[in-house]
Each structure stands twice: as C-alpha cells, then as structure tokens.
Symmetry: C2
Subunit: 337 residues, 2 copies
C-alpha cells in the first residue's frame, strides 16, 4: 500500500487492544462506585469519534448519554451534569486547549473522568482520574481511539446487564488489526482511483447516517477542509432531502459512506437519488468487505471504524495526487486567534 | 419593507400568541398525568427550530430532552423512548412524510404527542393527541412555530418549578409581533446591501452557536441551498477552529449569526479571526436591536426567533437580487425519489 507503515499500524492497534485488562478493571471499579450518566466530550475529530458511541448507547442502553462539544460545554450549566457523571475525553496530544479546559471543568464539578491520550505527562493525562495511554500518530489515531472506546463502552454496557456478549465481542476485536489491514488493502485501488478522478474537485458533498455520521462529519471537516483545503458539505442522510438535494447537478461530487446499522435504508434512498442525478458518485460501503472472523451481529457496531480506516487510504492518495501534504496548515497552530 | 405583508405577519404572529390559553391548559393536563422525558422530532427546518429548545432545556431544566431527526428516529429503538414520553412534532403542511411517519410510530408506542400544524384535517393534526393550529405560509412559519414553542416549553418548565417567571415572560411575548416588525425594519438596509454584494457569491460559510445554532444550520440548508441553490457550510462556533477555518481566504464569504446566550464568547472568537482574514464578513447580531418591552434577562432565549425573523429579510432581498424565486425547486416534490 502506498505510503503505509504496516508495522506501525499493527503496533498502534495492538497497543490499543492491549489496554483491555486495564479498561475492564476501570469499568468494574466505576460500576461498584456507581454513576448516573455518561458525558462524551471533545472537539473536532475527537467529538466526532464519540458520536457513534452516543448512537450505539442510545439504541442499546438506558444509560443517559450526552455528546458535548468541549468549548461550548464549559460555558453553560448542563443540568444533567454533576458529581455523579462519568466523562470520557480524548486528545491525542493531550494538549487540545478546549478538551483540557473541559477536563478542568469536570474536575471542579467533581465528576469522574477517563482520559484517552497518546502520551503520559500531558495536561489531559494529568487531569484525568483514569488515563488510557496508547501512542499513535495522526494516520492511526482513529483506530487507536476506536478500539479503546469499543472495549470501554461495551464493557460499560455489559456490567449494566445490557450487552452479555461482551467477552465474545472483545475477543473478536483482537482480530481487528488484521481485519482493518485487509480492508485497507481492498480499498487501495478504489482510493487511488478516487483521488485521481477528484484531484481538481473543489467541492464534495458527503452523506452518512447512524453510527457512521460522526465519520462523515469529521472526514469533511478534519480531512478535506483542514488538510486539503477543499470545500465540503456533510449532510445526514435523514436530512438530505430537506434542502441539500437541490444543489446536486450532473457534475456534483457526492461521497456516500454506507454502514450496516438500522439507518442503512436512509443511505439507500440517497443512493437511488444520486444515481439518477450525478455522474460523480463515490460509494464507500462497509458491506463490501469480508471482516474475517467478525460475527455478522457485530458488523453494525464496527461500521464507523471500518469507514475511518478505509478513508485513511483515500486521504493518503489525495495527498499524493493533489500534491498537498495532509500536515500543511494556514492557521491552526500557525497564527494566533 | 420590500415584498412584505405587514397585516399578514401580524395576523400569523398574533394567531400563534392567541393559542396561549390552549397551550397552558394542555401543559396543566400533561403535568397532572406526568411524563418522563421530552422528544422533539422533525426534519430539516422543523427539527432545526427544535434545537434552540433542546439547548434551553438542557441548560435550565433537569427534564431529559432529545431532539431527533424523524426519518432516523423511526428506524431505531431509542431506549429512552416509551409510553411515558412526551413528543412535540411540527409540520406546516401537516403532511411532511417523515414527520407523519414519526407521529404514527409514537402513537403505536403509546407516547403522548403534541402536533403543531398550519391546518386541521391534515395527517399530523389527525394523529396528534393534542393539536395546535395556526395558519401561516413559508415566510411567517418560523415566527409562528417559535412563538408557540416559547409558550409551550416555558410553561412546561414553569409547572416543573424551573421557570417561575413564566407569566411575565409570556406577557412580554405578546410584544413580539411589534418587536419583530422593528427588527425587520432595522435590518432592511443591511439585508438589501448584503443581497446586492453577494448576489453572485457561490459559497457561504455560516457560523452560529448555542440557541442560534439551529437557525445557522437551517438557513444554510433550507434557504441558501434549497431555495437559492448556493453552496454552504454551516459550522458551530465551537467547532470552527477544528478544521473549517483552514478554508477561509480573503474573498471567502462568512456569515456570523450572533445571539446573546452563554455561547456568545465562542462567536466573538470566530469574529476576531474572520476580521483578520476575510474581506467578506457579514455579521448579524441580535444585540444591535432594542427589543422594546423585552426584559434584558429574556433576550438570550429570544435570540433564535430574532435571527430567524431578520433573515427572512435577507432571503427576500436575495430572491430579488439573484432573480431566483425562493419557491423554485429542482427535485423536492418535483421528481420521485
């Protein structure tokens, strides 16, 4: 695969899975102490990665869950939030300003925090009551965080009596490093072709739904906009027909991210429309991958990590074809604002 | 004011306020019967108009509240939803497919529904346990629904003991028809100038926050995209610095919708950045209006209706300057999909 370090990928993903014992211990401890509700807090990509878990919890658990944007959360008095709240935050660098501020805010209010970071000794790591550490860089950060969150969230559900299959599910997760490598391999040529075809495209409309919506939102904002300076519209499939559809013309690029949960029919409806209207339709569908060793019943939960992992291939090829490094910024951490 | 029917506006807004007695009776009845949580359900503009109330409830009440997109909601099993849930839905025509389906779904599950419609004898009106009817057309629909929701939601909070000022607030709402007329008058020249300057603009970035975010989202999608076929990006001020900022250049049109709640500092930060970078910055700020007869302490709640009402002026001038009727559709209710 182009510009891909397999050893590093396996090290990071296995590193995340290696936290399983620690995660299970944390959850057991928290369960004994009790908590009232769960807050998932982050900014940009790190709140977007929480959305699938908010979705999964809403649809499988009675645990009240709230995904909140860090910078807004600290400004208001969220009435469900308090000392009995459990909070999960993540920041690869451990230094994201808004997330660190949110962790301080949670500490002041007496809530219990779990911080997912890439390094110890960083502000988020120091502030969190429980810290999960797994080093990764930008190209493997999604998989690292996803795997930790799958273990953490589904273990939380298990001890609540809402996901008895946890042990089997967690065992199957051990196969994800190799499953994801297969997914990336299988996507390589589609990704390369997409990048070649779209290298001069100045606008993409991205559509997603259900547990995949977070990836749709963040791929548009954190990759295409931030790292490639391409204009985007990310729109939820359930909302597409309430306005955004009117923009679609024969030459409008549409990118569909299809997952396998209950919301799939919404994506199929958008697809039927798009097939009639535009010649520039790109579909990335988790269903086209085998996911060796993963039970059918767990596939729907894994759609977002599959999408995230295969789109890393798309990004890498876009970077090459557009001759625009993913790391170049005009403003972020370049100018003061 | 250009292309504006004052009599009709007063008729619609006073019609909405005229439902106060009925709304208060409904809330008293519901309170006696009891309910566990509140679901706000809609699609496009009619879910966006619920977001401010989700925000307001989250920050002032312990009532669990969930804003849900209709088409997605009916596909999954939301574990907080059940016979003890109270549901508010709105559809001007009373026929919006997804909303009607959601109302049917709620009925099957035994939840209590309140439907806000423009006409009796429509599917949503027939399906709802309680129906609020106020005729309006597209250009006054926002104000009509907002006023009803202010009465309904704040009355709900009052009877829960969380908003003792309800009577004063509701009395002040009676002044909103004239307040909003003043706001529109005061915006007329800015709206006209904006439309002239931007008539050939093919992309706008819209930024909002807090209780105004719903308007930001829906103005981008339901007016600029749907009614004017202009590309947009709507981005929350708390998320702007996590990707979208990289797109801004000297000639990028940015539209800032500033309200007066706790999240205002987030908008001020975006504004400072935008002032440095782009020459095409348009700021619409509720703070610039007097709102005669409205107490300072209620202004933050009213930011979204102020923004909605003044942007009707922007739309009307865009329609003229761009010679593109707001009612023209390529696809919606034109082709089958």
């Amino acid at each position: 695969m182009f510009n891909f370090n397999k050893d590093n990928f396996l090290k990071v993903t296995n590193g995340a899975l290696g936290l399983r014992g620690q995660i299970e211990d944390i959850v057991e401890t928290l369960n004994e102490r009790g908590y009232k509700n769960l807050f998932l807090i982050g900014s940009g990509g790190s709140i977007a990665i929480m959305y699938p878990f908010e979705y999964i919890i809403k649809t499988t658990s009675t645990l009240p869950v709230f995904a909140e944007i860090a910078a807004e959360f600290v400004l208001y008095n969220h009435k469900q939030f308090g000392p009995d709240s459990l909070v999960i935050l993540s920041s690869l660098s451990g230094t994201t300003k808004e997330t660190v501020k949110a962790a301080e805010f949670c500490k002041e209010k007496g809530a219990t925090t779990i911080g997912l970071v890439g390094e110890l000794g960083t502000p988020l790591a120091d502030l969190s009551d429980y810290t999960l550490v797994n080093y990764s860089e930008n190209d493997t950060a999604s998989e690292s965080i996803y795997l930790q969150l799958y273990l953490l969230i589904f273990k939380l559900l298990q001890v609540r009596g809402e996901f008895s299959e946890y042990t089997e599910f967690a065992d199957e997760l051990e196969r994800m490093p190799s499953v994801l490598l297969d997914v990336k391999e299988a996507t390589e040529s589609q990704a390369s072709q997409f990048a070649k075809l779209n290298k001069d495209e100045d606008y993409h409309m991205l559509v997603g739904s259900g547990s995949v919506w977070g990836e749709t939102y963040s791929y548009a904002m954190c990759v295409l906009e931030e790292m490639q300076w391409i204009r985007t519209k990310a729109i939820h499939a359930a909302e597409f027909f309430h306005g955004t559809l009117e923009l679609v013309e024969k030459d409008t690029s549409m990118i569909l991210m299809k997952g396998e949960d209950e919301s799939r029919p919404l994506m199929e409806r958008v697809e039927r429309f798009a097939l009639k209207v535009t010649d520039k339709l790109s579909i990335f569908d988790t269903k086209q991958y085998e996911l060796k060793g993963i039970s059918e019943k767990y596939r729907k939960y894994l759609s977002p990590i599959i999408i995230a992992s295969l789109f890393e291939r798309v990004s890498t090829h876009l970077e090459k074809e557009r001759n625009h490094p993913l790391s170049t910024r005009r403003y972020y951490r370049v100018v003061e604002y």
